[in-house]
Symmetry: C2
Subunit: 496 residues, 2 copies
């Protein structure tokens, strides 16, 4: 077969296997009965192994080489070869048996972490974490890097990002956020959320989330909403982007915002054009850009005053305790700021500080300056510096996240970058669509979605995040947009 | 690797792929969004192709040959080699490109059938059906047979069964059933079902089905209940046997019996021992034996007087219209006999006649004595002879079933055999457990399930159906058990 046709055929076969694996994962986390868990892990393992063999085959390598030498490829074909070739070389740089040892060790480590977190027993996890750090450093050595081994790791999640650039972003952000939070909590007037104390039955919450997802343009003919423990969005195949969420009976807003967050991820994936299916380009530009979409729909849209002008009557209809509460009061209640221990529960203002803390610590772990045994103390110290609160135990501290236990170092910054990309994109959108608030207030989100489709979604992974943000906003990533948004909004909410 | 170890490893890999394909199918028929359908077909196609390659590989052939020559295998290992070897040779007898052409043609034919049925337009389907008959005859030639090409086809569903044996079973059955039905409808007192006219909300029906499934011993930790259009049961993996059903708001019993039917299939699969997982033996002995389990739980249990003694209060609790109705009246209402056009809606007494009709026609098609163009007339004629009713159009006649459109000839007799096996097994069970009715009446089905586990389920596919029925009941299949059961029960219900 001709090289380009062979290349496309190979990617399609890899893509089909990917789709099958995604469905197996989705089911594992939504509906799989308990007694089917062990065998499911084996089924996923077998398909993943096969997928890895195909994605690292000599045949694919030869095809990539042939195509890299050609100059008659279309723009998207060339992007596919670039993106797929980059991954191919990363994978080929690592000996297969090293991968296998890592797979075994990381699943053991994750299980140990689960037990350790439940018992708040860092010592029981320490050995596993040391092993994971060691694996990560060796992965970095295999992948290669220019300046710092951490750069080789973050490349997986945010192509083109480096720890030097991250540090330059973090410094001004931290410098302004920390005192702003102090002012908010000390001098600000915290919104009242008393009326959110009444329980909210799951079925009614689900109906409300369905309404919100429909309003923002999520296509239920190409997806579905299910519940799970840790919400996620997954493309189970072309035309099939599934959202999951979690409803808490005693928290009337948590499930709604989780649905909007995952809905934001899903709108991105549903917006990737059909012609990119199974080409290696049918996903987001990076984890950070993906997070910009979820955080935008959750926060910049869902926690905006205009959104609540539209949504308050629907909310009150579903949740009788909110009847008679003004949309302004609901808006304010959805925007309380509280320095707290747990990242996933953090508000818009404090969230990035949780990330900076992790960035600081994992950089030290990978560079070798920080030893695993010191982590609990370092965590408490950093919490005090960043947020002014100190958790009482490690379950609420260093043991709270799954990422490190699974060997995922370099992942956390994506969350912060998502917030920054989101704010920068939204500033551009506000210029392009000056009456956005009026649209939101009447429940119309279609122009925002169209704008995102046209400027962000349609390119899939054909552009790296740095290229994308500069093309769309005219500037490289700049944390000032986020700072302007946050200080403006919350000074108002808190009456500063 | 040593031959036996290599054999087991190959079967495990094939089994894992099977599990993945099963989940993709389950999802396709329960939750897959519309826009994901096309790609899903491609994903299933890719995995099935790979599975077929593994199941027909020269490596597997060589291993089978090596093991067939050995006499040191355990009983189950030998059974696995026998069953897997038989399938291997059937598949190898067919040229791969013939399979591929069949796969394309049958999916086209199924789609054409769906349209033709909706329009009740046999002419639009005729060409496809002719093609399917031609494929089936050529499959039979590839597979080989001793007496009749139809035997080669039924072997797929009911190993060891032949058209000659089937004809010998059908003749006495038909001879007694046809006049019995006439007597019932003419001289019998039809049960009153007036009180079942009130609508029954889906949620309440679902809760009732969950209760019934729990009562009969279905393990929800190793399965789940979902709704679909055409109910089915599927093993989505070890420890994961899923039931689906369909609720009709205006038919308070249909969904319940569908759940019990599928629950019967599921109890069989849940009862197959773990040690048979991914050995080729981890399924039922045949389609007929499988159907014996589903029909037993649906009819011999679910439509029994003793069952309704137990279940009437639960039914009335869920369905207010049945309050004050006696358990005897409910039992009788669940056992109305009506000669009708549609097989899947047929009662216990008339059901087998629908099958005999199809057996007669498909035998003629495969032998070449019957031409496709004559089918609509032949169908009407046979309906008159067997059931005394004639459908007004082909949608309610020859176009009602999917099987032929998908090239599945030789499948229908399994349904009838299921009824016969079930009655014969149940007669043996009644002898072994004389107080079965008292147990059912207090909602205890555990001894029945234990008996089935021990005598039927535990062997999986290690025994052919003929061997199984003889071992368990001491006699080869004999339709008299079914006739005794049916005439006894319905003479009573209809007061003959």
């Amino acid at each position: 077969m001709e090289a380009l046709a062979s290349y496309k055929a190979q990617l399609r076969e890899i893509g089909k296997l990917d789709s099958a694996i995604s469905l197996l994962h989705w089911d594992q986390r939504t509906g799989l009965p308990r007694k089917g868990q062990d065998a499911r892990a084996e089924v996923i393992g077998a398909l993943s192994k096969r997928q890895f063999e195909m994605a690292t085959s000599d045949e694919l390598g030869a095809t990539l080489e042939a195509l890299e030498a050609r100059d008659d490829l279309s723009c998207e074909e060339a992007a596919s070869v670039r993106v797929v070739g980059r991954e191919y070389r990363r994978h080929k740089a690592v000996p297969p048996d090293f991968y296998e040892r890592f797979a075994v060790a990381s699943s053991r480590s994750e299980a140990a972490w689960e037990r350790a977190r439940a018992a708040s027993d860092f010592a029981a996890f320490k050995g596993h974490l040391e092993e994971m750090v060691d694996f990560a450093r060796r992965f970095a050595a295999y992948y290669g890097y220019e300046e710092s081994p951490y750069d080789a790791l973050i490349e997986e999640y945010e192509p083109g990002m480096t720890s030097r650039r991250l540090a330059a972003i973090v410094a001004p952000l931290r410098e302004k956020l920390v005192p702003f939070i102090e002012r908010l909590t000390e001098a600000g007037a915290a919104p009242d959320a008393q009326f959110l104390q009444s329980p909210f039955p799951m079925q009614a919450q689900r109906a409300l989330s369905l309404r919100a997802l429909r309003a923002i343009g999520y296509d239920f003919e190409a997806g579905r909403l299910d519940t799970t423990v840790h919400p996620f969005t997954i493309t189970a195949g072309p035309g099939d982007v599934r959202v999951t969420t979690r409803f808490l009976e005693d928290d009337p807003l948590s499930g709604l915002f989780s649905s909007l967050h995952e809905g934001g991820h899903a709108l991105y994936d549903q917006g990737i054009p059909d012609r990119l299916t199974w080409t290696g380009l049918d996903q987001g530009a990076s984890f950070g850009i993906h997070e910009s979409q979820s955080r935008m729909w959750e926060n910049l849209v869902g926690r905006s005053r205009a959104f609540w002008t539209y949504f308050a009557p629907h909310f009150a209809e579903a949740y009788p305790a909110a009847r008679g509460v003004s949309s302004e009061a609901l808006y304010r209640a959805a925007n309380r700021v509280t320095p707290s221990f747990i990242r996933v529960e953090a508000d818009e203002v404090t969230y990035n500080l949780h990330i900076m803390l992790r960035f600081e610590l994992e950089q030290g772990l990978i560079s070798g300056e920080t030893s695993v045994g010191d982590l609990p103390d370092l965590w408490r110290d950093a919490m005090e510096r960043y947020l002014g609160v100190v958790p009482e135990d490690d379950a609420q501290g260093v043991l709270q996240d799954v990422h490190w236990s699974a060997g995922m170092f370099g992942y956390f910054p994506s969350y912060m970058l998502g917030n920054l990309y989101g704010a920068q994109l939204f500033a551009a959108i506000r210029e392009a669509l000056p009456d956005l608030d009026e649209q939101f207030a009447r429940g119309d989100f279609s122009e925002l979605l169209s704008w995102l489709r046209e400027h962000v979604h349609r390119v899939g992974r054909a552009e790296d995040p740095g290229m994308l943000i500069e093309r769309v906003t005219g500037k490289p990533l700049d944390p000032e947009y986020f700072l302007d948004y946050i200080t403006g909004k919350f000074s108002d909410v808190y009456g500063l």
